[in-house]
Amino acid sequence: MIVPLEHILILAGLLFFLGMGGLLAWRANLIMMLVCIEVMLNAVMLVFVGGSARWGSADGQLFAIFIMALTSAEVSLALAMVVYLHRRRKTVDTDQFSEMGG
């Protein structure tokens, strides 16, 4: 393998924390948060694929495909909810939704 596993892990880590930072910073826009979650999931998929290549096993790739399917389902559901929330409140700022507060 040309690319060593450490490099892949570093890249995945960078992507993951990039996504997490975006998630925390972009609370004003729910769609951008979904995008950031996608980035984090992709970082995880990268780790799976890298691990699969490193140990020559198909399990990791299998997981990556699962995650892709799961993500597409999740995004379609989440976007539907975003549309619903936007209709109710005319906003996608998450700080405006605190009805669950104790």
């Binding site: 997490m20 998630l23 925390l24 609370r27 998450t94 700080d95 939704f97 605190s98 009805e99 669950m100 507060g101 104790g102």
Partner: protein, 626 residues
């Protein structure tokens, strides 16, 4: 005999239980008949027991308290003393019950009244007949409880309820001393049987006997309203008048005298105890007589006269004149019940007026009350040849026979008291019945005035029970009671000395009568009453019973209240409550810290998640770094 004794005790108890359980549902007449019937049946049993009496008997009904070698069976002891007291109690209480039927005819709580009255009699009979001290203590406490409930019978008025509590708490002080004495006696002798203990006198160290005697004296002082525990009795007038009659005449207050007389073979061995008993009695008699001279409330005059007369009895016990004390106890029961019942008639007739200065001219209006009341007053004042004259003289004779400076002084005090007694008694009679304008009266139930007659006869003729021996015969009571341990003792004064003493007592009694006559009848009456109403110098001191209540208030009650307030405010509220409240506030504040995190906003959860990830990572880094 066993059956009679059981019935004497059980009948009043059953009557009380019957009235307590069923009295409210049954017609009034049924409760009244049962209440009176059981007491008169008990009297009949006592009379039968008297007829069949031929020496002291001890009857055991069963085991009551038994633990290891401590034995207190339900055992009764009938000797001459308890028999004569039982006869007196059932008879006088029977009359009081009959009288109550008339007196309480408009009171809705008749069931409670008669139930308590019956149980009162039961407790007193138990006290008199008990063979061992725990059983006696049971009756002793029963009497205390019933008096508490009956003094505060009209408990809806704060003042009455307070009087009941005062009686209960004050007597409790004496009861505690008595209780200690019982336990100590058991510890010393391994027995609580009265007859057994009375033979132990010589085996117990003298100092211990003295202490025991003083403890018993304290117990007797509480029940019999002697100094310094006398303060409850004047306030006990808050109850219905028949109750006052029962407490003062036949039961309760004589319990202390009975206890001292009963235990005399044990405690009489100590000269200190005898002197203390005599001193208590003599000083109390004088104290109460002075107080009675200035009272305005009819029932309070009688209350102080009771304290004074009980003082005489205690003095008699202290002088060893036990027969005299028992004699005075019996005659006093008759004439004091008579006076109280008469006072009840007067108060009822005058629409619950008790202030004697508002009375007057009742002689023509209430002749059926006047003549018996006068008979009672003559006895109380020790008018020559009445029952009270002979019984009081028997006590004074016993005191005179003792000799010595202490008993000489007490004899002088007793004679002064006799003068005061005569004065305040006739002050009461003259102010209430003579002079003044005739007030409006309500008619009295016939039964109330009828019950006075037998008591008046017994009071007047009570002297026959024990005529002085210089008349040639030994007195009936002297012969009857003489065989009881302790009663035969007491030095007899010479016939000559006794005659001199009786003449002196008669002169004093007549002097008191004369003084009262001079002051409270005819033209001087209005002037004397006006001056007394304005307040004579020193009258306030006597009116309030030498201000003993104030003294106890300042010495005991107020410090106690302050201490209680301190514990309440500083100890309970500030200390315990404060600590608990502070702890609760601390926990609540700690709980409030994470509560701030549940804002419901997504951002908070996300920051929590990110923080958690950082912590986990930091941990992993810390673990893997070499």
């Amino acid at each position: 005999m066993k059956l009679y004794l059981a019935l004497i005790l059980l009948l009043p108890l059953m009557g009380g239980i019957f009235n307590a359980l069923l009295g409210r549902t049954l017609p009034r007449r049924v409760g009244e008949v049962v209440a009176c019937g059981v007491i008169w049946s008990a009297f009949a049993c006592a009379a039968l027991a008297f007829a069949g009496f031929n020496g002291p008997v001890r009857v055991e009904f069963g085991s009551w308290l038994a633990a290891f070698d401590f034995q207190a069976p339900i055992a009764l002891y009938l000797d001459q003393l308890s028999l004569s007291l039982t006869l007196m109690i059932t008879f006088v209480c029977g009359l009081i019950h009959l009288y109550s039927v008339g007196y309480m005819q408009d009171d809705p709580a008749h069931a409670r009244y008669f139930a308590l009255l019956n149980i009162f009699v039961f407790a007193m009979l138990m006290l008199v007949l008990a063979e061992n001290l725990p059983l006696l203590y049971l009756g002793w406490e029963g009497v205390g409880f019933c008096s508490y409930a009956l003094i505060g019978f009209w408990y809806t008025e704060e003042q009455n309820a307070t009087a009941g509590r005062k009686a209960f708490i004050t007597t409790r002080i004496g009861d505690t001393a008595f209780g200690i004495a019982i336990v100590w006696l058991y510890q010393l002798s391994g027995s609580v049987s009265i007859t057994h203990l009375n033979t132990m006198g010589t085996l117990i160290p003298a100092a211990v006997v003295t202490t025991l005697g003083l403890l018993l004296l304290a117990g007797a002082a509480g029940k019999s309203a002697q100094l310094p525990l006398s303060v409850w009795l004047p306030d006990a007038m808050a109850g219905p008048t028949p109750v006052s009659a029962q407490i003062h005449a036949a039961t309760m207050v004589t319990a202390g005298v009975y206890l001292l007389a009963r235990m005399f073979p044990l405690i009489g061995g100590s000269g200190t105890v005898r002197a203390a008993i005599a001193l208590t009695g003599g000083v109390t008699a004088f104290y109460a007589a002075t107080c009675a001279c200035c009272q305005r409330d009819l029932k309070r005059i009688l209350a102080y006269s009771t304290i004074s007369q009980i003082g005489y009895m205690v003095l008699g016990v202290g002088a060893g004149a036990l027969t005299g004390a028992a004699f005075h106890l019996l005659t006093h029961a008759f004439f004091k019940a008579l006076l109280f019942l008469g006072a009840g008639c007067i108060i009822t007739a005058l629409h619950h007026q008790q202030d004697i200065f508002r009375m007057g001219g009742l002689r023509a209006k209430l002749p059926a009350v006047y003549w018996p009341f006068l008979a009672g007053a003559l006895c109380l004042a020790g008018f020559p040849l009445t029952g009270g004259f002979f019984s009081k003289d028997a006590i004074l004779g016993g005191v005179a026979a003792q000799g010595g400076p202490l008993y000489g002084g007490l004899l002088l005090l007793g004679l002064i008291t006799a003068l005061l007694t005569s004065f305040y008694t006739f002050r009461m009679v003259f102010v209430v019945f003579h002079g003044g304008e005739e007030p409006h009266t309500t008619p009295l139930p016939k039964i109330m005035t009828l019950t006075l007659v037998p008591l008046a006869l017994l009071g007047l003729c009570g002297g026959v029970l024990n005529l002085p021996s210089y008349l040639g015969h030994q007195g009936i009571l002297d012969g009857f009671l003489g065989s009881i341990p302790g009663f035969g003792g007491g030095e007899k004064s010479s016939s000559g000395g006794e005659i001199v003493l009786q003449i002196v007592a008669a002169i004093l009694s007549l002097t008191g009568l004369g003084l009262a006559w001079f002051r409270y009848t005819g033209s001087r009456r209005a002037e004397a009453l006006a001056r007394e109403e304005a307040g004579l110098p020193g009258a306030g001191f006597l009116l309030n019973g030498w201000r003993l209540d104030n003294l106890y208030g300042a010495l005991i009650i107020n410090p106690f209240k302050h201490l209680a307030r301190f514990f309440w405010k500083q100890g309970d509220e500030a200390g315990i409550d404060g600590a608990l409240d502070g702890l609760a506030r601390l926990i609540a504040r700690l709980g409030g810290l994470p509560a701030d995190w549940s804002t419901g906003r997504v951002a908070t959860s996300l920051f929590g998640l990110a923080g958690g990830v950082c912590v986990v990572l930091a941990y992993l880094v810390w673990v893997t770094l070499p």
